[in-house]
Amino acid sequence: MTLSLVLIIVMAVLIAAGVYLVLERSLTRVVLGVLLMGNGVNLLMLSMAGPAGLAPLVIDGVEAEQYSDPLPQALILTAIVITFAVSAFLLALIYRSWRLANADDVSDDADDVALRGGEVTLPMEETAPDEGDTEFPLEAEVAQGGPGVDATERVVIVTDNDSSSAPEGGGGR
């Protein structure tokens, strides 16, 4: 089996750059790193197919060895589709993270930090300040009595209205 040196070098560069980017804290860079690594591995698979040859369509009088191997190309195609879908999801995740925290950094685990400080009491899991995820200066709005305020005011009623108020279906957020 002969390998193309150019392909190998490009693959190594892609994977090295990908690993470097994935080690960053910034999520955007992580996504770029994942994309580079994915493409690097695709190139690896391509080079494992052996030398380039004719399109793998049966032609009379052509030896089997002259065709290029179609299987790795099929595998790469599948891998590309998967990488595409996952990077779309990651981008959505980053956008969400930026909307919530105005940052695309990977932050430390709050529970871990609490345990490290020797403090036994752990903060509670924060559930969904969803309506509050307007563009970030929520506290400032509260101080000024801006549009974010009514979301923080709640009426406390002691009833069991859970089942009746549960919306059917609820088209997601």
Binding site: M1, V22, L27, V30, V34, M37, G38, V41, L44, S47, M48, G50, Y67, S68, D69, L71, P72, L75, I82, A85, V86, F89, L90, L93, R96, S97, L100, D109, A110, D111, L115, T121, L122, M124, E125, E126, T127, A128, P129, D130, G132, R154, V155, V156, I157, V158, T159, D160, N161, D162, S163, S165, A166, P167, E168, G169, G170, G171, G172, R173
Partner: protein
């Protein structure tokens, strides 16, 4: 009978499409999802009985002959895993239906929950019945993509944070897996498991070890084997309770399943077994120590999950039939018990409003049923006789003692110690969350205050009298009962695990399935263009 094999994949896949179309009708969605999983469970049981009686089933998808096309293989191990995962997925689905009914859409946007959950099922089933490495990769990707969505469900800040870690680590393991598939293909010109097993013996030893290590690292990340386990306790606890329960029960075990396949079919040689045993030891001890240090039930359970992966790796690393059989029994036991404990933690969260053991107390008095439902699986996980955890550990220790050697005896000692540490961590949960009275909890607030604090901004009304829906309790109770059944029917089950392990004694049985006579058919699909002559 072979017609049933693709159905375990197709039914959840089509049900996922159907539930997506029915996004506006939550009730119909629930019925479709529950019916689909019940059907998968029934088919799984039929397959298990058939495979156990008449031998493994092989399906050539699209009627392409074996080495050229995609092949699905159901042997005893696959069938057993299909049954137990379908059972667990169904129980968790019922639990989440119960929770969803009462919570409304607080936590989970229902319209995508059921389709995603069914896609997860599809991925799990594909991974279990895949007959080639690339199909295994596709199965992994299907279930991982579904799990990315489930773990970030609702998109709150903590879940996004945990989800990012999970997604990036999983992506890394997928990239590694893909790279190892490329290497395997480059070296052997095939990705079919049986063909790989046939050809791999002709490779030079160093290339074999390289491929072996690459596959083990890729699967080790998924199975959360130390030192590749750091991501798990970080990301699992923030997801909704039923999601965590399903993940904890199944996803890591699929990594262990893949490791079993690698160790028994592709590389049955013992070169890496001592290294795996050391990793098993470290996984057990580090996980258990982590569990002892935590103060949140879900995090404690996540760490015990990591620690008990070590037991399964121990069984696999022994490289004997007895070791593999014990590992298979332990996997079944652990899937059931770990899921039950996470479901019980979900009930605790529901009753007490928190899973932090420094903030809750008095649950034995206020919710005795939940206490029982937590206590039984906790003892089971800790390995108290006569529960299945004890039987599984006993089997592992016996297999290790049969092999003998200093390392094996060290592992037996460490295994016993770790089961005590597990018990200690869980008894601490019991003492603080259930046993002590409410008055002893420092800074105790009224439940109403806590309820307000718990659900800020989510609704305009906060009610204090949140009752635990009956479905949640019932599904947890059923899982507890299944855990006890694993003890009651330990004899037949262990015999089944034994028979499954005998199939996995070296690659011959697997090769025989696809290539009767153990010889590849002449003129196979690939003309060997990618093959290296060693």
């Amino acid at each position: 009978m072979t017609a049933l094999v693709p159905l375990v994949v197709l039914i959840p896949l089509f049900a996922a499409a159907l539930t997506l179309v029915l996004g506006r009708r939550a009730r119909v969605q629930r019925i479709v999802a529950a019916l689909a999983l019940t059907a998968v469970l029934v088919i799984g049981v039929v397959l298990l009985l058939a495979v156990d009686g008449d031998g493994a089933l092989v399906v050539d998808v699209g009627a392409w002959p074996v080495p050229s096309g995609i092949v699905l293989v159901v042997d005893r191990l696959s069938a057993l895993m299909v049954v137990i995962s379908a059972l667990v997925l169904l129980a968790v689905l019922v639990f989440s239906i119960g929770q969803g009914l009462a919570d409304g859409d607080d936590e989970t946007p229902v319209s995508i929950y059921y389709p995603t959950y069914l896609i997860l099922t599809t991925g799990v089933m594909v991974a279990f019945i895949a007959g080639d490495l690339f199909n295994l990769y596709v199965g992994f990707e299907i279930l991982l993509v579904a799990s990315y969505v489930l773990i970030t469900l609702g998109g709150t800040e903590s879940r996004i944070r945990a989800g990012v870690t999970y997604v990036v680590v999983s992506l890394l393991s997928s990239v590694l897996f893909l790279a190892s598939i490329a290497m395997v293909y480059g070296a052997l010109g095939t990705v079919n498991l049986a063909q790989v097993a046939l050809r791999v013996q002709e490779l030079p030893l160093d290339v074999q070890i390289l491929l072996h290590v690459m596959l083990l690292v890729a699967f080790g990340i998924k199975a959360a084997v130390f030192p590749l386990s750091f991501w798990l306790p970080d990301s699992y606890p923030t997801a909704p309770a039923p999601v965590t329960a399903a993940f904890a029960g199944l996803l890591t075990k699929i990594g262990v399943y893949a490791i079993i396949r690698v160790e028994t079919v592709i590389f049955p040689t013992p070169e890496l077994n001592p290294a795996l045993m050391v990793l098993a030891l470290l996984t057990m001890v580090v996980g258990a120590l982590g569990a002892v240090a935590q103060a949140d039930i879900k995090r404690i359970l996540s760490f015990t999950l990591v620690s008990h992966i070590g037991y399964m790796i121990l069984g696999v690393a022994l490289g004997t039939v007895a070791g593999t059989a014990a590992a298979i029994y332990y996997i079944v036991h652990h899937i059931v018990v770990q899921t039950t404990l996470f479901l019980a933690a979900g009930l605790v969260e529901r009753e007490a409003g928190s899973t932090s053991i420094s903030r809750i107390g008095g649950l034995l008095a206020s919710a005795p049923l939940v206490a029982v439902l937590f206590f039984i699986p906790a003892l089971n996980l800790g390995g108290i006789p006569p529960f299945s955890g004890f039987i599984g550990k006993l089997g592992l220790f016996q297999a290790a003692a049969e092999q003998g050697g200093a390392l094996a005896y060290t592992l037996i000692g460490a295994g016993a110690l770790v089961s005590l540490l597990t018990l200690y961590a869980l008894v601490r949960v019991w003492n603080l969350a259930f046993w002590r009275s409410r008055d002893e909890v420092a800074g105790d607030e009224t439940r109403l205050l806590r309820a307000v604090e718990e659900a800020p901004l989510s609704t305009s009304t906060v009610s204090e009298t949140r009752t635990t829906p009956r479905l949640m309790t019932i599904s947890t109770a059923v899982m507890v009962a299944v855990g006890i059944a694993l003890t009651l029917f330990a004899g037949p089950l262990y015999a089944l695990a034994d028979r499954a392990a005998e199939n996995l004694d070296g690659p011959d049985a697997y090769i025989e399935l696809l290539f009767p006579g153990g010889v590849e058919p002449a003129g196979d699909g690939e003309p060997g263009s990618g093959e290296v002559t060693p």
